[in-house]
Amino acid sequence: MSAPYYIPETDVPLPPTDAEVVSTACDYCVVACGYKVYRWPVAGNRNGGALADQNAFGEDFPVDPLGSWVAPNQHNIVLHNGEPHHVVIIPDKDTKAVNLDGDSSLRGGCIAQKCYNPQSPTRDRLRSPLMRIYGILQPVPWDFALDVAAEVAKYVIARHGEAAYGVKTFSYQYIENTYAITKFALRHINTPNFTFHDTPSDVSSTPGFRDAGFDNFGASYEDWRDAETLLICGTDPYETKTILWTQWIMPGIQNGQKTILMVPRRTAGVAYAEQNGGMWIDVTPGTDLLILNAIARVIVENDWQDKEWIEKWVNNKWGSNSGFGQGTRNTPWQWRTTWGMFQTKGYDDWKKWLLAQDEFTVENAAAIAGVDPAKILTAAEWMAKPRDDGSRPKTSIMIEKGLYWSNNTGSTQSVSALGIIVGAGGRPGQMISRAGGHQRGGIKGGGYPRNKSPMKLPGRRRRALDTDTWTIAGHTRMAHVIGTTWIQSMCGSQQLAAAFEDLTVGNPNQIRSYDKEDIVATLKKRVDSGGMVVINQDIYLVDPIGNRFADIIFPAATWGEETFMRANGERRLRLYPKFYDAPGDARPDWWIIAQLGKRMGFDGFDWQNSNEVAEEASRFSRGSRKDFHMVKIAAHREGMTLHEKLGSFGTDGIQGPVFMLDDGSLEGTKRLHDTTRELHPEGPAGLNMYNKKLTHFNSQTGRCNIQKSPWSLFSDYWEWMQPKGDELWCTSGRTNERWQSGFDDRRRPYIMQRWPENYVEIHPEDAAERGIESGDMVMAYSDRVPGLKETVLGIEGSDYSFSGQMAAGNVELSRAAVTGVAMVTRAIKKGVVYMDFLHTQQPANALEGRVVDWISGNYNYKMGVARVRKIGVSPYKENMRSMSFAPRDII
């Protein structure tokens, strides 16, 4: 960890002309900017000079604005082939994709500091497997740790069943790793006790998109730029996807785009949009659906909807019903619509429903959402009102977690319907997509065994197993946790932490032996006594999952330490080559999984390198949005490996799905659902694969389903949750300067100086009422954090609601308390406080309700309340060295 104190350097070494150059992309957010790594040996002291012919950039220093400047945070010293090397890592100034000006955020911009350097705060990288012996995590050899883990795993599966083996893993951290992990967990162990880092069960994040027929990542970055009106729901991309904002949306705004952001905070992107003719819809948490449906209502009342588009691309009664033709009740579409709550007979039926709901009048929606009604009218005009010449504004809609983690099913259904009626979805500048969080690095090497999930609602299909409820109930006997904090990143997390403690360190069977057989026997006794064994793969020791609860830790190698592939938020595939030595004995996740798999008797884990994993994974990408199978085919034709071929595209990469043209060259896909695209007239040749999503939508007919989005499915929870007494809405999210749990940022003095602790943004009026000033230490706490005791209980349809579950006694109210530093700011809506969502020391998610969405099974992470009380003064109030309490909306 780093102290919150930063001494800036005043000089930096420049790469010499013969420095080696490695093209890669950033490890962090979904945008994945292109970078260049300049590497040269420390030995010899041959640094570059200030003149163009003396350095690798070919630039005279001082460089021009946007030039190849090297900030001291962009330099590091690493081991490469065992020898110390300088690395300078700066955004690629020559790239033709993504970060066009050679731009970058400060997260990626300082990525050189991610590299392991024992003289920097990265010195606590995990370098050796660890095993908790006599209560201490002690280094052990790989074989020793793997043998014990595999023996116990085999035993747990044989004795307690596959569902006792839980795998909680990142979904994004490179294609090679996710493929190996899912092959191991889903294909071989075949456990339903499996999910990804951001959800309690393996379910869709955007059920409404899925039902409407929208791919999550259909848009290309140029579509966000080219939209004339852009509605952004639940994120400020400047804060969370910086380069998507600075290189694509900002130029759009400068070109006259009307940009609407619907979020409860006024951060820099919001302020910039407002200053340039855009609009902030300061929505109250959880009420997005009301605003979206009110906008839709204004549009249809004025007859501004895109009639031609609707006529051509929206399912009528017969099209909607043909969903039943998908087969039995076991389709997500069918499962949702049997509730009779969503399906329509087409546009007119949807319109009739919309106009019949009183809560969607402008006045009513604005009142509940706490928004000026005029903003709803303005949004409707900007999005859909035809111009005098009859032409329509090109409108796009971007969504992200503030929207879909507030009312998961309802918000995504309502935004889909709004997108459909304004003609967004299948044309240049007219798209509806997610913006994204992490990069897209998931390939499934096995299918989720839904039929093994014990969680089933009467009369409905089985639902993916809720791993949190399952684990709290004691059914997980071995938890295999890969690259996620698990606990702090879930809702009601202090309840989850208590269960982990009871099941692991609270169990009497602890390793107190030097003997492998004894150790295995002890852990078997633990699981037989109702306890749980935890194994954890990560790059740092994470508290508490690794530090306090894990029995075995496997040290992972990561970005730059192994060669990997991944796609970004416009499906752009790039190679991320290894350019330095992993610390100590750390190994990539695919290798760790392969060693476990072999020991557990599984076949197909004999890979020698990451390219072999990628080449095996390629056929599992076929038909997906990042289909790269043809890259492998082309590579082999040309005598290359898949990795070599993808690397040849450099930072420009290629957008999936990838096709081979008649001349053997490769062609990417700018956007999905592209109704303007003409595919090869004779159809796909060779191994090329065309599917519906290329030129149509992901529905049964290829047209969109326009669906209802009733407020009543969520309103009882919202009303129960609504602040009572002196409570405030407590929501959370990212802040620009910090990535995720801060696993790297906590080791950067520059970032620790800015954000030494979690913070509580609070409106000046709310703060004054509580006697709180900026810099005060506050406690955000609640004695009503709801959590489900069991999976959803009920018989009748009406039981499946928050009030139904309350009546059935299935909701437990627990307490939570999280400290933070008060930031009194004009840049947040009154009545709402906001915290960093995943500060591992001060986890805001502890305050968010651990109640899954009734329809989707996902959490609504952004929904919580807290009382806020001053408990003292933080050191940052008077010390002028760390933190800043200035507002984030200065333009």
Partner: protein, 196 residues
């Protein structure tokens, strides 16, 4: 120096993240010199306002920078920045000195509210001139990518993309004369503050 009584000299602590060194030979030796020498000439840790509740250590690489008269304390008005160039007249030397009217890290004067900063964004070199905001005591937003800096807190980033804090120009007060004596942080565009 008129305020020697308020300054004391310490060995700087080795901080996390600064274990690596600049590799250019002359830069390295200068830094080594500064880090190991405890003489008054090569002042490396300056305790501002020593003996008061506001005492804090500010590392300052002051010995090798020119001592340049930039303004008169009596002529500064709150929230009205004055331009100057430092440490030379070359590229990206444009700087401002401003009386914030509120206590600031590294501030001088009776209210410790006079500070000076380089005027080029440390993200991609955008010009920050004319972006001073009195209500928030900030510079920015940078016209290129919207970074903003807190002048009360050593130029720390408020919101944005900069790769480091805004370089702070270290000041000395001699009677009514304000001298620039050093820079804290690398100026955009340069690889060494003193070598361009």
């Amino acid at each position: 120096m008129s305020d020697t009584q308020n300054m004391s000299v310490n060995q700087p602590p080795r901080q996390d993240g600064n274990g690596k060194k600049g590799a250019g030979k002359c830069m390295l030796s200068r830094r080594e010199f500064l880090l190991t020498s405890g003489t008054a000439v090569a002042t490396v840790m300056v305790v501002m306002n020593a003996g008061t509740a506001d005492a804090e250590e500010v590392p300052g690489l002051v010995a090798t920078y020119p001592r340049k008269l930039i303004a008169k304390l009596s002529e500064l008005k709150v929230d009205e920045p004055i331009d100057f160039t430092y440490p030379d007249d070359g590229a990206y030397s444009d700087s401002i000195v401003v009386k914030l009217g509120t206590r600031a890290g590294g501030g001088i004067g009776p209210q410790t509210d006079v500070v000076a900063f380089n005027n080029t964004c440390t993200h991609q070199g955008g010009p920050l001139s004319g972006t001073y905001k009195g209500d928030t005591k900030s510079l920015g937003a940078c016209p290129l990518h919207l970074s903003t800096y807190d002048l009360t807190r050593h130029g720390i980033l408020i919101s944005g993309q900069a790769y480091q804090s805004l370089p702070q120009v270290l000041l000395e007060l001699d009677g009514d004369d304000i001298y620039a004596v050093g820079v804290f942080g690398l100026i955009f565009g340069r690889y060494d503050n003193l070598q361009g």
